[in-house]
């Protein structure tokens, strides 16, 4: 159960960080 919670939280955080990172890199390249 603990592993499932950690997995779900990690995936949610990974998506958040991942999308923000991609946006940041593409914006920095566009400048």
């Amino acid at each position: 159960m603990t592993s499932l919670i950690i997995f779900a939280l990690s995936v949610a955080v990974l998506l958040d960080f991942g999308l923000e990172y991609l946006r940041s890199v593409s914006k920095a390249q566009g400048k």
Partner: protein
């Protein structure tokens, strides 16, 4: 047996770690990001040490397993200092370095004690179990701390592109590693769960090398979420 992809990721991560150190020195980023750079240097040394053990004893040997898990624990503790370095870079103007140092030492000690309490009932192989448990817990504490730091960056309207990208890349690394550990606990034979750590371990130095190499120190960029808020 290791596949060609495993070898490729192993050598690529070692090479990228050296490139991060080179780029940080070349772009004079050591003043702000000394702990991050030192971490990459240690990561390279850990990779070399692991390869020496692997070469002499083989992938399935007990020696390699010990070397892998002990070095992983050392690596996660070192990464923890990287997060603290990023906290210090974020709050540098507020003059709270000492409080951050004390707080981080307290949290590191608490994580070590909790890890020990969790595995205390297993008398056999106590030390090796402790090391694995400590690594797993530190990865998850790392996710929480990086997310808190990200929240602080947004709250403080931080626009230093380098700092933002370094934090985001570290967040991706920690969350992918913590997710992989959890997945391995649920499905021990799942192949993808074993592939994620080396992939994440290659991504982190690649992203940091890119940031030091391509993003100038004075570059400013509002994170997307912050830009939306200020519109």
């Amino acid at each position: 047996m290791l596949s060609p992809i495993d070898y490729l990721l192993w050598f690529a991560s070692a090479l990228l770690e050296v490139i991060v150190v080179y780029c940080a020195v070349r772009t004079k980023a050591l003043r702000w990001y000394l702990t991050l750079t030192l971490n990459m240097l240690f990561a390279f040394l850990i990779n070399v040490a692991r390869f020496v053990v692997f070469y002499h004893y083989g992938y399935r040997s007990l020696e390699y397993k010990y070397a892998y898990y002990y070095s992983d624990a050392v690596w996660t503790i070192l990464l923890y200092f990287s997060i603290m370095g990023l906290y210090q870079a974020t709050f540098e103007e507020m003059g709270v370095s000492r409080q951050i140092r004390h707080g981080s030492m307290l949290l590191l000690g608490a994580t070590a004690i909790i890890s020990y309490l969790l595995i205390r009932q297993h008398d056999s192989q106590l030390t090796s179990r402790f090391v694995v448990e400590l690594s797993q817990n530190l990865y998850f504490v790392g996710v929480v701390l990086t997310y808190m730091l990200w929240g602080a960056l947004l709250k403080m309207r931080e626009t230093r592109t380098r700092l933002v990208q370094l934090v985001l890349a570290l967040g991706i690394y920690f969350s992918a590693s913590a997710g992989a550990y959890a997945l391995r606990n649920m499905y021990p034979s799942l192949a993808i769960a074993k592939l994620i750590p080396p992939l994440a371990g290659t991504f982190l130095p690649a992203a940091w090398a890119y940031t030091f190499w391509r993003v100038p120190d004075d570059a400013r960029l509002a994170p997307a979420r912050l830009a939306l808020r200020t519109r």
